[in-house]
Symmetry: none
Subunit: 192 residues, 4 copies
DNA sequence: GATGAATGAGTATTCATTCAT
DNA sequence: CATGAATGAATACTCATTCAT
């Protein structure tokens, strides 16, 4: 029991170290040895938990993406009215990006870079379905513009990533006021 | 003259090779030797034009960014009415992302990654001033929401990057129709 | 008793695994972990039976060599006439190489390679004495050429190793006919 | 010109170092770094001349084998009478094993071990054809036993490898007398 | 200017071996 | 006895950079 516990902790430490180092230095400047050191294990130990560096990265990506979607859809049920549902989900996304900035930044980097395997990328996408369903419902009800979900995502969700990156670089501050402005912009862009 | 010409051509070949390789393989999988090979020069030759790999990357970034802004503001004059001016600029940006996809993808990767020096990043920003001025004018005229330019950018400009990346991955198609939808979403998000 | 039995079985499994893996992949590509896996034990268990990898290899060599000589001299008694005795022993050697090919191939590889300690090699040799005695007798009786036993061995015994390796590589077939030819060649080379 | 010369010298130094180290320590205990050190180059330099460790080994094997066969058939012409021809070739083989012991030992190790690629092994064989032709002629003339060339090789040629290994281990001495005995044994084993 | 050969300093990965359980 | 997890010490191989020509 204690052993399993320790094993899980080590794996998590590796994942956290990877996120942190890739965020700060980029994938190309994140050697396995540094990850090991930050996680307080030997480099060889990484290979007990992950097949190789690419596998480590893929697995971290998938798990962070799952944590993200899991966080996002907490409290949401498919019978929530469209406008309320969208606001709920949007706020959870914003919350996640603010509270789990490391994870969110990591995702942003992976999503704009060819460092993740295509299959892992796909695997990360499937859990977004409830949002797509919500949008479809909104379109059927005539509340949302009849556009491709990619457009809906590009204008209502993705901007948060940009804003978070800017906040991380110290150029911009996400607070109650700017978040409200952001939500209005998001809603205006997709609602009829 | 012929010599200078050849020199410039070599430099351009190096820049193009860097863009192409970083796009396809990521920075971490783009060795100098490959760049040299693709540009048909010796690895040593790179160091006649750039100080080192980081310098090469920074310079490529800055030049591509300049090409981008230069393209974007062609035909635009500061006395254009706000709505027309925004539409003009927005369309040029969309144009660039469609016609110079390699360059645009490269910028998207650099902008979400810690591979570019902060100073180079700043240098890439300064040429965006005309757009910021336009927005300020629009806000003074009560046409645009009185938000931070970061918010304006996040919602009216940045989504195009996301859409382009998606198009590049084969998931989405930017055509006359979707571009029009995109523009409406952009305008709705920032206009009062 | 059952415990001792199991212990012996494990040790044998380790020896067999070592032989098989070294034969197929060579010593350099035979990690302890693979040996353990093939023998269905933990890597750590190997060290309960052998001091280290070198010791494992030496012990395997010695035991296989003993199995070989023991097999070879079964039914042979020192009072057998020289010609009969040689034929008897030669046939047993040929038999062993055909029936215990794994073991024989392992010996061939060890005998031509610096992977076995010199002392272990010596230890493997001592049990060949009956053959040396037979040869001495044959020379005293004027039946065998008065040559160094190394020459006798090189021409009458060692060729079987070569033929077995060739058969293992699929290039040659040892059957009743070729074995008879081989024996004639062997006998012709050493008899007066 | 001087550059090409140096290049060839470096390559040869690498080959010699490989032979020497593999002979003394075995393939498994011959790291690239040691080979580099012995050849007075950087480890990275090896990879300018050979693709990887396996390629290095294969190439060394092939070149040594070619040197061997080339040495062996010097002075031999296909019209030499069978007995004379065999004696000539046999002596050259013995000569090579005595004078180029390092090379010969290396071949012996490679020939009894799965460290060489099968294709490289095949490539090493093709140059032995003149000997096979000689044997065929001898069989047609009724001088040699009508056996498989593998048997002829096993009994008339291969024993020299064994004797050389023994001499290298200090157990046996190849001199004029023992060489003559060896030749007689070889000839007796294959001649009618 | 231009180059190709050369390399030192890494880097991912492996593996023999140990040790707490 | 037996083990699986852990690791330090290699090891093959890469790559940004240099330098003699």
């Amino acid at each position: 029991m204690a052993k399993l516990q320790k094993s899980i902790e080590k794996r998590n430490a590796l994942i956290q170290a990877t996120i942190s180092l890739v965020n700060n230095n980029g994938f190309h400047a994140t050697p396995m040895s540094k990850i090991a050191k930050m996680a307080n294990v030997s480099p060889a130990t990484i290979y007990l938990y992950f097949e190789n560096k690419q596998d480590l990265l893929n697995k971290v990506y998938i798990e962070v993406k799952q944590a993200f979607t899991s966080y996002v859809f907490t409290n949401y049920t498919p019978d929530t009215p469209v406008a309320d549902g969208f606001k709920l989900i949007w706020n959870r996304i914003a919350d996640f990006k603010l509270k789990e900035m490391e994870e969110a930044l990591f995702l942003a980097q992976c999503d704009n870079t060819p460092i993740i395997d295509e299959t892992s990328r796909q695997e990360g996408l499937i859990h977004l379905q409830p949002l797509l369903d919500l949008w479809k419902r909104g379109q059927e009800e005539g509340i949302l513009k009849p556009m491709s979900p990619y457009l809906l995502y590009a204008y209502s969700i993705n901007p948060l990533s940009f804003l978070m990156v800017m906040q991380n670089r110290g150029a911009f501050k996400l607070n109650e006021e700017t978040l409200e402005e952001a939500f209005q912009a998001a809603w205006n862009s997709i609602s009829i």
